[in-house]
Point group: none
Chain length 139, copies 4
DNA sequence: GTGGTCTAGACCACT
DNA sequence: GTGGTCTAGACCACA
């Protein structure tokens, strides 16, 4: 088999649209190292069949991943995981972090958890990602 | 003054829809004690005018707050902050926290910030909220 | 009329796909100052009707413009020209410039024009863009 | 050696399809005098092997070159560089230059580079090509 | 009314 | 075979 399998599950109950679930899922697999640089993604039609969704939905997810610079198309051959690079300017990254943080805080603030508990959960989730590759940052 | 003022700011750049910003904002003020039990909320039209948004949007936010049991309608008088009661089971709260965390992590994972930096930002944002009220919530 | 008109012409003979022509056209109008910051774009369905194309094609162009940070959506209201900001990292910008230059050179190199002539044409085209706003760079 | 070598590099990151890169590359070598009139091009399969691409892609590039009159097939012997002749009218050339310029400007307009910087890059790229051969083209 | 998402099915260029 | 583009028509959340 030339193209790697992808372990994505579409959850209809999810608040995220289908194409976003695909984007997130593949981004996660790349971040975790399950999808190595140079690996070929499953074909649009193939993944659409596997997930039992419309091919255009997969195509939209793939075009999003391409726009984000995570994968590169080779004409007539398919999409391949590309060398990681930072597309966004520092300013833009800061802005997005701020937005994400404020959104997250607004979601959890009214829950009966104290700050330490929330922080611990976030920390664990972040470390789980960083743990896979050879980034040796520990706390 | 019969109805208390609410200090809400609508941010157009926010990912949340406007009605959600209102719901979150009022919920926050109730949690912080700025809106005491029994206080009357501003009228739909009044708040819409104040925030310069469509009245339907405020109405939607209010109906959301009512459905969540945070406020109670008194026929012909308006909406009033109701007795606090824990509507979400512990299990439900944990689930929401987990969902929020994983969503947040997914959003910031591809940014070039290290774990510490992200944690610090979240911590600051949480403390800024917790600072004002008497935080009697333990986990 | 609340939303500004847009002077775009779809050319079927063009090598660019329709949605790209729209993106380029609007980007150009923003660059030239014809579309001021804060201006509302024509609605998806409205522009689709005007250009006699499918609404999804316009939607795709609009989502592209949004991804590039040129316009911002306000839920339920439409798309608005946003404050200019630099989305891309310096590294990414350099890369794109290199790619564009090499592509351009490859297209014109086999034409019987000398370097000076080509340079002059490019310069004029660039100045025409820069000339509109108050950037006072002249050669 | 019966057929001259061609020095072409296929760049996957290039916006041009592979067959176009071949066409451009060979056209460039002819223009530069590296491929003299009467020289035999490498065989379809040979070049495909050398570039590690599909033979059909090379065939398409060769048929394109033939259609443009740059090379001539001799039955059973292969393709040979043909006598130079100007296929494009002056009007057609001007039109192509204009198209290329406007496309290029559109691509770089949204990057945060000033006119001088862009011009310098184009100039360097053009000179790098013109440097080798005896440029006898005037406008 | 607005944009966003999804489906279904077609055609195209490229390999 | 591959991804990319376009159309047509539907449904949704939001204002």
């Amino acid at each position: 088999m030339t193209s790697s399998n992808v372990k994505i599950q579409i959850v209809t109950g999810d608040t995220r649209p289908i194409f976003k679930q695909i984007v997130d899922g593949i981004r996660m697999e790349i971040a975790c190292g399950e999808l190595q640089v140079g690996t070929k993604l499953p074909s649009v039609r193939g993944l659409a069949m596997q997930l039992m969704i419309n091919a255009n939905t997969v195509a939209k997810a793939y075009s999003e991943l391409t726009a984000q610079g995570l994968v590169e198309p080779r004409q007539g051959l398919g999409l391949f995981v590309s060398e990681p690079r930072q597309l966004l300017s520092e300013e833009e990254q800061k802005k997005r972090l701020r937005t994400a943080v404020s959104g997250f805080v607004n979601e959890v603030a009214y829950l009966a958890f104290n700050t330490d508990h929330i922080i611990r959960e976030v920390q664990e989730a972040l470390i789980k990602l960083d743990g896979a590759p050879d980034t040796s940052d520990r706390d």
